[in-house]
Symmetry: C2
Subunit: 248 residues, 2 copies
């Protein structure tokens, strides 16, 4: 990807993980609602993603978009996810098509889009290494909150923009991203842990690979996993280095 | 269903078909944005479904909801489907849960939620009797327009409200409803034709049957069909009487 890569929500945690591994590899355009906390040598767009004109300005000329911006709170109220996550994602996708420059759209979906597969009769075994249940991205969403509904809707929006406008779309259902080590005393978080370096590597893969429309899970190669990473390996060449079991 | 049944979008075409077959069978509450065209002996609520308080008043005390209200135009712009179809459906579902009276939620989804399975290499064979391709409700949405995106989102919202609050949810992906006879010179419309009497019967089935969360297709038993009605038969006892081939 020689053209600039637009990273929305750049100031958030996922944005930090991506930039910590890939800052020098791409020509970045960063977008966030707030100005950058640290001085940045990258192009920086201060914009609300619900403002189409501001979004278009940031999108036009980019070759790929990593779309992280939105209300990240699992407990976010409906009005916020309706506006920031659903309407905001539509805005970015529409701008991507209108600009005619964007070829790849990489969407930060979430484990919360499928959180209600974690039924009482499956847990806590689901979070333990011996358990063989796997979600692999071919299952329907079963959101565990309205934030998860908004992420599932983003996946559907991507499907439409892929089918109609031939945009390559990768949806990454991100697990539990923490820096340094997996969450402690939290089996679920350990099962879906994503290390910073695996996160950066996975989004790098999404910028490099060829694909049509994909839904994959974004986690490290954890012994406890109940999300399959087979599809991420096969289509994107994802080769994670970390495993929450190494920190036991 | 002895408790009142709330029918939203009652003044539209699907509402007319349902009432033409079932008006005397249930204790109806009708809701529409506009006052009724004809005098009605049923309770009638003039309300915009994006107005939560007005919606709650209509929902509270109902035992079931048939939710048809929304912008019905396949070419409807994003802002309209975002508000009327996505936000409106959330409002009704939230009111259903808040009221504690509603047990069943029957959602008018649409063939447009899966319109992009009709690819160039499948059509027009897809619309002809010899073709064996079938969509059966286990496939991911592939909307052909933003209206279809909004319907797919309604299905996801229903999934969340079912999983979290134990509401029975039936999503009916309605085909091409026309009164009297199937569309002429329109193979696609003949393939997904739904007669008025089959429409009324199908929604009657949805009010009577026991189910958790279902996605079914709402079409007559057309020789040309590419939507399976097996699930509607099995779970809901749907027994359609019409077939667009009888009008050739």
């Amino acid at each position: 990807m020689d053209d600039p890569v637009l990273l929305t929500g750049a100031e958030g945690r996922v944005g930090s993980a991506i930039l910590s591994g890939l800052e020098s590899k791409y020509d970045w355009r960063l977008l966030d609602r707030e100005p950058p906390a640290d001085e940045s040598s990258n192009d920086f767009f201060v914009a609300d993603i619900t403002d189409y004109d501001a979004v278009y300005e940031a999108v036009d000329g980019a070759g790929a978009i990593i779309h992280l911006a939105g209300d990240p709170r699992p407990e976010a109220p409906w009005n916020s996810v309706l506006s920031n996550n659903i309407d905001g994602t539509h805005n970015i996708l529409q701008a991507a098509v209108d600009s005619e420059s964007v070829e790849k759209f990489i969407f930060a979906s979430s484990n919360h889009a499928v959180g209600n597969y974690e039924t009482d009769d499956r847990t806590p075994d689901l979070y333990r290494p011996h358990d063989e249940f796997r979600l692999d991205g071919t299952e329907f969403p079963r959101p565990s909150n309205l934030y998860g509904v908004s992420k599932a809707t983003g996946e559907v929006l991507g499907r439409y923009y892929h089918d109609e406008f031939d945009l390559s779309v990768a949806n990454v259902r991100i697990g539990n991203l923490t820096e340094g080590h997996p969450p402690k005393d939290y089996e679920r978080g350990q099962a879906m842990w994503l290390s910073y370096r695996d996160c950066a590597h996975l989004f790098d893969c999404c910028l490099q690979a060829d694909y049509d429309y994909e839904i994959i899970y974004g986690i490290s190669d954890n012994d406890r996993k109940y999300y399959s990473i087979d599809r991420a390996r096969e289509v994107f060449g994802y080769d994670p280095q970390d495993n929450s079991a190494h920190f036991d």
